[in-house]
């Protein structure tokens, strides 16, 4: 009986908890970028996920180049070595976009709606650029060790029927996300530039009266956002695979996470990321086997006990988004709505 319970738990950990935490961390990093841009530049950046695809594409291309040169990172994916270069390229592209597109509207003090529409334009541009350079197909660029623990080793170690597999990419995602979040909060709460960013987001006019340079704040925000999205995109690509259309689709869960958590609130984006990820994973998981361990044999369910087919996983974010907007539009941590 006790082993049945343990087996059920491991089964759940393997198919829901570990993938949920990894996916949640990826969403949290993406939603953080959206929330930062919203807090400082005061618009919803629709180009976010396609710029993320651009950043990831840069990582993929550099990784391939490194691989052809025979450079590797031992058991870790070579993509990690390519990542810093891809971040620099993405920062460059994002700053060029700001200078050529958004700065014009900022100087005119345009309404957020105009910024959103401009960002949709940028989205299409990035979208086309990525497909033009690397094509619309699925690209794999992961190398190195595949697993931290394989299901088979886990079974051997514990003697249980169920195995728990943890992929290197999942472990990396979680470790990197934790480091990035700590670094980001340290920056926002402890450094002069970070505080200036919060001040500018809090009260633009008073920030100007205090001598805070808005263009500098905006630049710092874009740099952080570009770094976050390149890292989030690369981690997602390593964990699954890189396909431009999948990245475009991530826009919905990103926004859902940012809004559920409270838009403009970094802590909210992180909470929102995990809420969305766990909702998606747990609603689309088939619980048949899990229940079989827990109930008497003749009570075992006949169906899959899957609430929703995985094809509909985006519906989950969408429904959560709509419900939150109807019931608590400010999100879990009260965000501000411009």
């Amino acid at each position: 009986m006790a082993t049945d319970f343990l087996n059920a738990l491991i089964l759940l950990a393997n198919f829901v908890i570990v993938p949920g935490v990894a996916y949640g961390s990826q969403l949290a990093l993406g939603a953080l970028g959206i929330t930062l841009v919203y807090a400082v530049l005061r618009f919803a950046n629709f180009a976010h996920s396609d710029t993320m695809a651009f950043g990831t594409m840069s990582t993929v291309l550099i990784t391939w180049w490194f691989q052809s040169l025979g450079i590797s990172f031992g058991p870790l994916p070579t993509a990690l070595l390519a990542l810093p270069f891809a971040i620099i390229i993405t920062i460059g592209v994002v700053l060029i976009t700001d200078r050529t597109v958004y700065r014009f509207y900022r100087s005119k003090r345009s309404s957020p709606a105009i910024f959103v529409i401009a960002s949709i334009g940028v989205m299409f541009l990035m979208n086309g650029l990525v497909r033009f350079i690397i094509g619309p197909d699925d690209q794999r660029f992961v190398d190195g060790e595949r697993f931290i623990i394989t299901a088979r080793n886990f079974k051997k170690m514990t003697g249980l029927d169920e195995g728990l597999a943890i992929k290197v990419t999942q472990g990396l995602t979680i470790v990197i996300a934790v480091i990035l979040v700590i670094a980001l909060f340290w920056f926002l709460n402890r450094t002069r530039s970070g505080k200036a960013m919060r001040a500018y987001s809090d009260n633009e006019d008073l920030a100007l009266l205090s001598g805070i340079d808005p263009e500098r704040v905006v630049m710092v925000t874009w740099i952080i956002t570009a770094a976050l999205m390149t890292i989030a995109g690369t981690l997602y690509g390593l964990d699954k695979s890189f396909k431009p259309f999948t990245y475009f689709n991530l826009l919905l869960p990103f926004f859902a996470a940012a809004i559920v958590g409270g838009i403009g609130q970094p802590v909210g984006a992180i909470i929102g990321g995990y809420v969305i990820a766990f909702s998606e994973v747990s609603i689309t998981y088939a619980y048949k086997k899990f229940l079989k361990y827990l109930v008497a044999d003749d009570w075992a369910p006949e169906g899959l006990v899957q609430l929703l087919s995985t094809d509909y996983k985006f519906a989950v974010s969408f429904i959560i988004l709509v419900v939150v907007l109807l019931i608590r539009p400010t999100g879990i941590i009260r965000g501000k709505v411009v």
């Binding site: 002069r192 505080k195 919060r198 809090d202 009260n203 006019d205 008073l206 920030a207 009266l209 001598g211």
Partner: protein, 234 residues
């Protein structure tokens, strides 16, 4: 010659002029108060002197320097500080962070200035780690004034600092403003509570439709039957 002078100021927000040749001046270690009926252009005059409104005619002088064309940010660097009437604190940031942001342009060590502010407003020291948005109205105004003082300005401009606070809090705030004045700062403020404000003023300006109607010491204005009848309610 006063330290800060807005001379013969004309201008508005496009369309008709709101300021029609008014002059406002304040010297170091002095409180100047601008009063007048609604729509007289009091706040507009303050904004013009801080560079938040372009003047069509007239000039603003700070010491020997003509600052008419300087942006508000540059005026902050020249030693001017402004406390807006509303949203004058960073609500999501702690009291201490608000003060730090006030000192943003300073490259040197500002802990001493912060201690001065805490001496002036002891209540803020206790609440230094609380978000400014959670404070009472009076304490928020203290944060707002404290933030402005962090640059150690030579001129402090206050736009209706006592709007919406209780009479007790107002008295206390005025006491503090007198203390600030004694450190040699020039203080220029716009006030709705004309009687109380004039009673602490060294100089008073009564503006009507963008023009100077009466200019005198605070005491003399309070004593003047004409001013009393038309602006102070008898």
């Amino acid at each position: 010659m006063s330290y800060l002078i807005g001379k013969d100021m004309c201008g508005g927000y496009g369309g008709a002029d709101i300021l029609r040749g008014c002059t406002v001046a304040v010297d170091k270690g002095e409180i100047a108060v601008v009063v007048g009926p609604n729509g007289a252009g009091k706040s507009t005059a303050m904004k013009a002197m801080f560079g938040m409104l372009n003047l069509r005619e007239g000039s603003v002088m700070l010491g020997e320097q003509d600052i008419t064309r300087l942006s508000p940010q540059k005026r902050v660097k020249e030693g001017m500080a402004f406390v807006p009437q509303t949203s004058n604190v960073f609500v999501g940031m702690t009291v201490q962070e608000n003060l730090e942001m006030g000192a943003y342009i300073r490259e040197d060590d500002f802990t001493e200035t912060m201690e001065h502010v805490f001496e002036l407003f002891p209540a803020l020291k206790e609440k230094r780690d609380q978000p400014a948005g959670e404070l009472s109205g009076g304490q928020r105004q203290q944060v707002a004034v404290g933030r402005a003082l962090m640059t150690t300005p030579k001129v402090l401009m206050l736009d209706e600092p006592t709007a919406g606070v209780s009479p007790i809090v107002m008295d206390e705030l005025f006491d503090r403003i007198i203390e600030i004045k004694k450190t040699g700062i020039a203080i220029l403020m716009v006030e709705q509570n004309a009687r109380q404000a004039l009673s602490i003023a060294d100089k008073g300006y009564v503006l009507v439709t963008g023009e100077n109607r009466f200019t005198d010491t605070g005491e003399a204005l309070l004593a003047s039957p004409e001013v009393r009848k038309s602006f102070l309610g008898g």
